[in-house]
């Protein structure tokens, strides 16, 4: 009895998930690349309103949160592989909290920009490109957090076993990708603004 789900011989079952996720990440990279190009292209071309250097503060805390979450998710996976479900839950929760911290920092930043600095997406080219790029990144973080939360819920209900480490790792690739995008956004948006 064989199943349709079987991969080709000699190809480990988990390769499907890995290649599928890698393909998704390729598509996402070219999506973000366009927003990054647009940001750089319009840098300094705004005809009015605040320029990046005048309003942006380097988000050190948020960056540390997000980079640290990549480490904690790796530790969580190692715990899961080692069979320590408790360790997994703790580190996984830490990852979620760090990601939520990042989102909170972004929300604070936006609140200040919009209400105190008067910069909205319609203000000028800087506002347009900034909110689109950072916003799409934040959207991806949010989606990632939803999936992480879903896994945590499954784990708390006892539905996640060490045998699921492979799937969980593929999910962690997505999280690392979101992290890598932030490194690019950080360099392009915040470092050029200084």
């Amino acid at each position: 009895m064989s199943t349709a789900a079987a991969t080709g011989p000699g190809v480990p079952e988990n390769m499907r998930g890995r290649i599928g996720m890698a393909s998704l990440i390729v598509a996402e990279i070219s999506f973000f690349a366009v927003f990054i190009v647009a940001y750089l292209f319009y840098l300094g071309k705004s005809t009015t309103g605040p320029q990046p250097g005048e309003v942006l503060k380097t988000p050190i805390a948020a960056t540390i949160c997000l980079l640290a979450s990549s480490v904690t998710i790796a530790i969580a996976l190692r715990a899961l592989r080692a069979g320590s479900l408790g360790g997994f839950r703790a580190w996984w929760l830490a990852t979620i909290l760090l990601g939520a911290g990042f989102l909170f920092a972004t929300a604070l930043e936006w609140h200040e920009l919009i209400h105190e600095r008067g910069l909205t997406i319609a203000t000028n080219l800087f506002g347009t490109t900034f909110y689109s790029l950072v916003g799409f990144h934040a959207l991806h973080v949010t989606l990632g957090l939803c999936m992480l939360a879903f896994v945590l819920a499954a784990s708390l209900r006892g539905r996640l076993q060490p045998a699921d480490a492979e799937r969980t790792e593929i999910l962690s690739w997505y999280w690392h990708f979101v992290d890598a995008v932030w490194v690019a956004v950080f360099s392009v948006v915040y470092l050029t603004a200084r």
Binding site: M1, S2, T3, A4, A5, F150, A154, R159, D164
Partner: protein
């Protein structure tokens, strides 16, 4: 392949049919359609999408939902693929039958490219010599060649053309080298296909052939050169190139050993019976 079985009770697990992906797609599309219609559509779509996503997840987690598909009865399965009655022809190679291994001793890349380099050098020397002889300047032919891509030179006077121009020198060198290497590689590939008279073909026939082609299109390609060219000298430099490449390539090849084999084999055709066969996969 698919051997018929007597036991019809066997089955294969296939992914079960499901409406959730379609409903998720419908939900997402309605969600966006609300942008151009009415907010209620967006709300409906979002709700549908959430329900469908939940349904989909339940279908694949923790284990995906499969259904048993029974195999068809043997009578309805694919027939075995039987040996064909059609005989297969073979290319006949040489005297030793069609399964002999070809003694391929050609090094097209090294020979052709090397020949191209030598030819480039010889041609450049001849052209420079002609430049010195007719205009007292080795830069004259080089500037004319560069005029192919430099509009500033294409309308320039003789004095400008006789002076050294670093940009023109760089461009002309690149054009000259690239063209020479490409033609050299062609020599390396095509000369072994010609049974005899390599030096005649490579040194005279081919240069005359492309000189004729160039003559036809030079007016558009390089008006400056076209206006000033002296064809006998031009042919001379091309023949020098051809002879140098032809000499170099034919010296490197032992093409004499291939003279009695048919064209297909000299051309390196890969075909059943021409290469080395294996007994087991």
């Amino acid at each position: 392949m698919s051997a018929p079985r007597d036991d019809g009770s066997e089955s294969i697990r296939m992914p079960a049919p499901t409406a959730w992906p379609m409903l998720l797609a419908a939900g997402i599309c309605l969600g966006f359609a609300g942008l151009v219609t009415n907010a209620i559509v967006t709300v409906t779509g979002a709700g549908l999408a959430v329900i469908a996503a939940r349904g989909w997840i339940r279908e694949v987690l923790p284990v995906q939902h499969l259904e048993e598909v029974e195999l068809r009865p043997a009578a309805l399965r694919a027939r075995d693929v039987l040996p064909s009655t059609a005989r297969v022809d073979h290319l006949e190679v040489g005297r030793d039958g069609h399964r002999m291994r070809l003694p391929i001793e050609i090094h097209p890349w090294t020979a052709g490219l090397g020949g191209g380099l030598i030819g480039a050098l010889v041609m450049a020397l001849v052209a420079a010599a002609i430049g010195v002889a007719t205009h007292g300047s080795p830069w004259y032919p080089i500037n004319l060649l560069a005029a192919t891509v430099m509009p500033s030179l294409s309308g320039a006077g003789t004095a400008t053309l006789e002076a050294f121009d670093p940009t023109a020198f760089g461009l002309a060198s690149v054009i000259h080298l690239l063209a020479s290497l490409l033609v050299g590689a062609l020599y390396g590939l095509i000369l072994p296909l010609v049974p005899r008279h390599h030096v005649l073909v490579g040194g005279l026939v081919a240069p005359l052939f492309w000189t004729g082609l160039l003559w036809a299109v030079l007016g558009v390609l390089n008006p400056a050169l076209n206006g000033r060219i002296e064809w006998p000298w031009f042919v001379l430099s091309q023949v020098a190139f051809g002879l140098a490449v032809g000499w170099f390539v034919s010296r490197r090849e032992k093409i004499a050993t291939l003279q009695d084999v048919p064209l297909a084999a000299r051309a390196g055709i890969e075909a059943a019976g021409l290469g080395p066969g294996r007994d087991e996969a």
